[in-house]
């Protein structure tokens, strides 16, 4: 009996240790960014492609004010309400004092400088595919943006999702830098795949999620319930989206659909960012969208 009990205790301890190991934050190799120099001019393209301002600019900001990444925008979800933090270069309230390695760990691993997990409302599940040089360039650009002294507000997340350590389970299950679209791609489609899967993170809203909040890769871009209100985010695979590549590119530039309806909801903010890209980048995104596997 005594032996059975001690075996059970041992198994329990092993399970706890495994759980602790699985949920541990996994930062990048400390030397991952050694020798990389950021280029702010190139970083501006990454900034608009990654859509940083769409979530981190103050709610309702337009024009130049979208470069002030004061945060405060609220995102309702099944797990509670997330509040976008201040990621301006303010050293006290923003991320001004961060090293490139700290910034890289946030972007690519969802790990904060203090070692805590970020919630995947911050789309590091997409940014995990970013090139390290692009991360360095993005930081160089963001370092030059206006500082905001607005303090970040806490997320309003209920137990048990309030346990940050549990995000480690999510990462164990879903954080994966493999490309979703595979096959024989043209150079333009390949660049579009990088833009969409690593930067513009379209899938975060356009792909349905399972019960634990992981993206269902078998239904990639096949549409999903609106995470923050009524209605559905549309299916943009060729099964439903019949627009030409030129029409998709025009939409991402002007917000006008081929029928001359205009973007609304969260997509209106997305278009404010994609409007800042080059025609070539929008054409590459459109080429990728046209190559998606049709899913009803």
């Amino acid at each position: 009996m005594r032996r059975v009990l001690s075996l059970l205790a041992l198994l329990g301890a092993a399970a706890a240790a495994a759980g602790w190991w699985v949920t541990a934050p996994r930062p990048l190799e400390p030397r991952a960014f050694a020798g990389l120099q950021g280029d702010a001019a190139r970083g501006e393209r990454i900034f608009w492609a990654a859509g940083c301002a769409s979530c981190h600019a103050a709610p309702g900001a337009t024009g130049e004010a979208r470069l002030v990444l004061a945060g405060g925008r609220r995102f309702a979800s099944a797990f509670g309400t997330f509040v976008a933090p201040n990621i301006s270069p303010d050293p006290a309230q923003g991320i001004g004092g961060w090293t490139l390695a700290e910034f890289g760990n946030a972007m690519l691993r969802g790990v904060a400088p203090d070692g805590r997990h970020y919630y995947p409302a911050f789309p590091y599940g997409s940014y995990v595919r970013m090139r390290l040089q692009d991360v360095a360039d993005l930081k160089a650009f963001m370092d030059g943006l206006p500082a905001a002294e607005t303090p970040s507000k806490p997320h309003e997340i209920a137990f048990p999702f309030s346990i940050r350590r549990a995000v480690g389970v999510w990462k164990y299950l879903y954080l994966d830098d493999a490309w979703v679209l595979s096959g024989d791609l043209t150079p333009q489609e390949t660049e579009g795949r990088y833009l969409v899967e690593a930067l513009t993170h379209c899938a975060e809203c356009h792909t349905p999620r399972d019960a634990l909040g992981g993206l269902d890769r078998s239904r990639w871009m096949a549409g999903a319930p609106n995470p923050s209100g009524p209605g559905r985010i549309p299916n943009i695979t060729p099964a439903r989206l019949r627009w030409s590549a030129a029409e998709i590119a025009a939409y991402l530039q002007t917000g006008f659909t081929p029928e001359f309806d205009t973007a609304g909801g969260s997509m209106a903010d997305v278009v404010k960012s994609t409007a800042m890209l080059t025609d070539a980048d929008r054409a590459a995104i459109a080429a990728y969208v046209k190559r998606l596997a049709p899913a009803e």
Partner: protein, 154 residues
Amino acid sequence: MALVRLATAAAVMAATLGVTAAAADPAIEAAIRARKAQFQLYAFHAGVVGGMVQGNRPYDAAAAKAAADNLVALSGLSRMFQWPEGSANDTVEGTRALPAIWANFDDFTAKHEALHAATVALAAVAGDGLDALRGAMGAVGGACSACHQAYRAP
């Protein structure tokens, strides 16, 4: 047996209530149809100007001006009739209008007035060439989106 009867009665009542809730007020339905028609006309005329801006049809000063004038007229329609209380998507099927419209009707009004101002600016330059048209049309699209962003479900 009594339990089965109770369950049947409950099911019938639930079905009846469901039907009652789904049968909308004809006046509300008519208002929703009317505003959808208005949006259809916006899109149709925006398409004339937008087609020129996007290079899908040749620039024609007279046609651009006529389409812009129609947008001015459409955005100048009184809002008194198409937006009755109780016509949001939380109570009625077949509309994407959010309840926030009626919670912030002053802001909704201001956004509609901003669209009207943008169409007036568009009409003023519609005959001045493609570059002028492009800038003014961008502002019209921005005014459309500002309202769709706040007040229309996806």
